[in-house]
């Protein structure tokens, strides 16, 4: 594991004590001493995670107005609402590390901060809503379950809460796709088409192979990442492949097979596509950021009014 470098003002003693706590499985809390690098990495990860929730509202939210039944519409509104809630928890968790929500949002809106690459793919049919619930939330849960065990208390607790809601979304998505896969020919075709488009992006969203993952070393040492991307991906595949097959769907990976240990092994991932999307050349990168910027800009007068009102009220009360 990568050996951390001390920042100016940090002593080896502090670092050793910090690492010993992590070894003992203690949670690090907001007011505890922590290395600057730990703080920096967590702010990066948590805010990125928060942004993913917020940007993630867009591809699914776009289908609220077109949900084909009152029940599905209600469920979808609730789901997107939950994502807003997750964004909120996560911004709060990051704030405990000394960054403001405003700073984080600015970083998102200016394109400096990243969010999950998966949300730069378009949602093209109603079945995408189910497939996102099943695959994207399914992949997210694997990652979040790991992070629920991470060493930073506020992040860990946010993850526990989020995971339980995501599990619910995952179930709903799966139920929807299984139903369509057994539904009318049109529904079956829709479900298969959605799988064809979302399978690889879901695989990629769990991150590059361990060798290409620049921050993994120190994050592992400090108990933030408890598993490698490839390990998490393997868990994801092992759970989802049999279920997808059972639903009667075809996984768009001709090289997929189950090895002697029972692990499902996937074919080569198109990492060029992944990096291209991460770098901003995905089909929807621009629209997603434009939509967030539009909401932010058009909401500016509301936030100003809110502030003016709050400053006004005590003055009025003093009248």
């Amino acid at each position: 594991m990568t050996k951390p470098i001390l920042a100016p003002g940090e002593t080896q003693e502090q670092l050793d004590a910090f690492e010993a706590r992590i070894q003992r499985g203690e949670k690090i809390e907001a007011n505890d001493w922590m290395p600057a690098e730990y703080r920096r990495q967590l702010i990066r990860m948590i805010s990125q995670h928060a942004h993913s929730e917020v940007v993630g509202m867009l591809p699914e939210g776009a289908w609220i107005t077109r949900a084909p039944s009152l029940k599905r519409k209600t469920i979808l509104i609730a789901k997107v609402q939950d994502e807003a809630g997750h964004g909120q928890y996560l911004y709060h968790a990051a704030e405990t590390l000394g960054i403001s929500r405003e700073e984080m949002v600015d970083a998102l809106l200016s394109g400096k901060a990243k969010y999950s690459s998966i949300f730069n793919y378009p949602t093209l049919t109603w079945a995408d809503i189910g497939m996102i619930g099943w695959l994207v939330d399914g992949a997210a849960i694997k990652n979040q379950t790991m992070l629920a065990g991470c060493s930073y208390g506020p992040y860990s607790r946010a993850m526990v809460r989020i995971c339980s809601e995501e599990t619910f979304h995952h179930k709903q998505g799966k139920e929807m796709i299984v139903m369509y896969a057994q539904g009318t020919p049109e529904q079956r075709a829709m479900a298969q088409d959605a799988l064809n488009r979302w399978w690889w992006p879901a695989m990629m969203m769990l991150g590059p192979h361990d060798a290409d993952s620049p921050n993994s070393g120190v994050l592992t040492r400090w108990g933030v990442k408890l598993k490698s991307n490839d390990e998490v991906r393997q868990e994801f595949i092992n759970e989802h492949v049999p279920e997808l097959l059972e639903a009667g769907l075809t996984i768009p990976d001709p090289d997929l097979y189950q090895d002697e240990n029972g692990d499902w092994k996937h074919g080569p991932i198109n990492w060029d596509e992944f990096w291209s999307v991460v770098k901003g050349h995905g089909q929807m990168n621009r629209q997603r950021l434009e939509a967030r910027n539009a909401a932010h800009d058009e909401g500016a007068w509301v936030r100003e009014a809110l502030e003016a009102y709050m400053n006004r009220t005590p003055a009025q009360a003093a009248d």
Partner: protein, 247 residues
Amino acid sequence: QPALLAKLTALADDLIVLSHRNAEWTGHAPILEEDIALANIAQDQLGHASLYLTLLGELDGTDPDRHAYFRGAREYRNAQMMELPKGDWAFTMLRQYLVDAYEVLWFSGLKESRVTALADIAAKALREKKFHLQHTALWVERLALGTDESHRRMQDALNTLWLYVPQLFQPVEGEEALVAAGLTPDLGEIHGRWDSLVTPFLTDKCGLTLPTEPAPDLSREIHSEDLIYLLAEMQVVAREFRDVREW
């Protein structure tokens, strides 16, 4: 009786359409917390619509989803206020406030209905509506008393929306009989109470000016072009795959 069916249709359509407009904000609200709050209102509204539609279904066999997804604008019976485009945050909050005030009074009256099913719907919905009203009233106040811009926007919203208010209190054909039989509360009475609640709030508390322009006489059978676009979007998947029975 046909009046009750017409009334349930009007009540449900109001909520289907307004919840749709509110839900359009999900992911685009000015503050993340409001994405959550407004999504919550939209869900409750869909829930209340479903309660009405379930009762309608019990009475005449209507399927709620076919009712929502397979009628055109010429068959919808919502008040026009509901279908107006979402506008800015002031417009959305004021519209929801005006409707919340009306619904709180409506459900308070409906709670006394002799028809248990209606009284049950009202009891369930009333608690939620009181919470919505609190939320939207606070927003109206904050924006009306916030900055010059927010005040202007709120006043603009009021200038438009006020013309659509009378339609909220227009009875459907035969509604007098429902009132006489103790099924539904008297809209005229509710209108009076609504005025006493809303007018001083908007004027004295929020410093807004009520428009004096006469409100046009609107029928629930005529809609604006806005509803056509709303329904086109709302029904696109259901109609494209019309043979699908279950989603």
